[in-house]
Amino acid sequence: MQAWHFSETAYHLLPPAESYDSIRVSLPNKNYDPRIGAELYHRYLDEWLLAEDEGLHIMLNEHHQTATCVDPAAPLMLAVLARQSHKARLLILGNPIANRRQPVRVAEEMAMIDVLSRGRLEAGFVRGVPYEISPANSNPVRMLEREYEALDLIVKAWTHHDGPVSFEGRFFHARQVNIWPRPWQQPHPPIWISTTSPGGAAQVGSRGYVQATFLTGFDGTRAIFDSYRRAWREAGRGDAVPEDRLAYAAMVYTGETQAEAYAGAEKLLWYITSNKVPPHFANPPGYVPVEAGVKMLRGAEHPLSAFRNAASVEGAIKAGIMMCGTPDQVVKQVRAVYDHVGGFGHLLNMGQAGFLEHDETVRGIRLFAREVLPALQEFRAP
């Protein structure tokens, strides 16, 4: 198993939550102080580089018009890291290609980073969470169709090297595709897709891309990974599904003592508790299938917010969305999820959030890297 340090580069110094309706989309940016923002950017970059020194890989993501993740152009942040890091794999998870109007431009950005990093890019793609719709003015209906069509065009742009090729799809059109630079890795950088539903995972599995899922807990993750493995086999990719095809993101904090770990983990819960979003941004029409929408009107939880029920350290550990404690405890907790879901090859550590300060973040990363990671690297499926 490999581990990745992930931070959403939050701007956490906000007025009281009661004073605003939504932390996403509509929170006025007068609440953002660029001078503080600059300090935070440099700090978060330093933490990624430190994680690299400790043997972790680097993961980042992209959101828009939100204090929870002030990285609206993740390829820019990744470009900085491509230059400043030297050995870590660089995972962007991901490019919100259902909301980007020019897939060829995305192919170019990713190729640049792959070359700049001398082949260390892991290129992730996402449909985008519902609150990304308004910032992108993007139609919430048929997003999945757009995502996969855009991806097909991106792969085509990456893999043709003999002059212009064309693409005329349902949503995207390009007549003279001939990107410079072309990617370093051949035939193209590894492709990751994130999804939090079994249906979505089946599509990823049939294509054989790396499947990542976030905070889906014991049973949710098992359903998603089972669906991936079933689709992988049905597509004729072989009986054995390599563990490096599956990734799980959880909040992770390791301490010398349980008390120290829990204190850090309390701060990580900001990931969950800060996400104040009203229904009109959280559930635009067409984002979830009609059948799921009917169930929600009957009281079911939004598939993306079920994890909010676990807004305590104990609750989050029990739900399998947080690994927290002494090194031994963390190893056992990762092992419990690993065994329950049938194994996975990447642990995406949400290792910094909200009010977790720099020195606390660094201590958590170091202890994890030195005392936990070696044990995880020995995990083999039962």
């Binding site: 308004s134 919430p140 229904p279 009109h280 635009p284 009107l297």
Partner: protein, 257 residues
């Protein structure tokens, strides 16, 4: 209700009432056959009301993503109905479809009644012509849409799964069709000069979605249009004031007003 095949689309077509035929084009919330105004209208006219592709149980092919596409489908509906010229009553987003269609084949239509129609952009690029319905809390939206929202509030718990399915499907299709450009086709206003039919624009006095200025500006784009404001009503005056609405509509359709 009947399901008909129209240009490869399975279309839910409702007909009711007696009298000369009238095409009714529903708005973004979909078609409800149990409405009082339909019963009243049906005393004077035979009402023909398709549920637009993707609404009700009508199918939605993947090539459809704008109201203009539905107007093209309805060219076939007009051929099939055969009873031309035909009068039209159309509400909101249905009015947009109706005007796309009327601009294509004005000769197939008699008189047009457009109730709080959307479909053109009249204001500046720096201001929305309509509030962003997809970025507003439900409680705000119902106040903008109704004069007396409490009379029309629906508790999902009282609806069957089939009814909820239709409700959510209507929302989804509506979003698909009107998302961008938001609630308008930039080209439509340059085509409306062709619609020389006698036309009545109707608006509820308390409509918070379609403003009085918007309706007046829209009506000016048609050579023979006039406007009427109904009191004590919001975005759907036919629902909130069915008697007053139907009296005014029938009078106009009969050439009495």
């Amino acid at each position: 209700m009947a399901i008909i095949d129209l240009a490869g689309i399975s279309l839910d077509l409702w007909e009711g009432g007696d009298g000369p035929p009238l095409l009714f084009l529903h708005g973004g919330a979909g078609f409800r056959r149990d409405s009082r105004y339909l019963a009243l209208l049906g005393e004077r006219r035979r009402v023909i009301a398709p549920s637009h592709p993707g609404f009700g149980v009508s199918s939605l092919p993947d090539w459809i993503d704008r109201p203009e596409d539905i107007a093209h489908v309805y060219l076939n509906l007009l051929d099939r109905l055969g009873s031309v010229p035909i009068d039209v009553v159309a509400n909101s987003f249905g009015g947009w479809i109706g005007l796309e269609l009327a601009a294509m084949v004005p000769e197939k239509f008699g008189r047009l009644i457009l109730v709080a129609p959307v479909g053109v952009k009249l204001g500046s690029r720096d201001t929305l012509d309509f509030p962003d319905a997809f970025a507003l809390p439900a409680a705000t939206l119902e106040k903008l849409a109704y004069y007396q929202p409490e009379r029309f509030r629906v508790d999902p718990a009282t609806l069957t799964d089939d009814e909820l399915t239709v409700m959510l499907r209507n929302r989804e299709t509506f979003a698909l069709l009107v998302w961008e450009p938001y609630l308008h086709n930039p080209k439509l206003k340059h085509r409306l000069h062709r619609v020389t039919n006698q036309t009545l624009f109707v608006r509820g006095e308390h409509d918070g979605l379609v403003s009085a200025d918007y309706m007046e500006g829209y009506a000016k784009l048609l050579p023979n249009a006039r406007t009427l404001t109904l009191p004590n009503a919001g975005h759907q005056p036919q629902i909130e004031q069915p008697e007053a609405f139907v009296d005014a509509a029938v009078a106009f359709l009969n050439g009495e007003a």
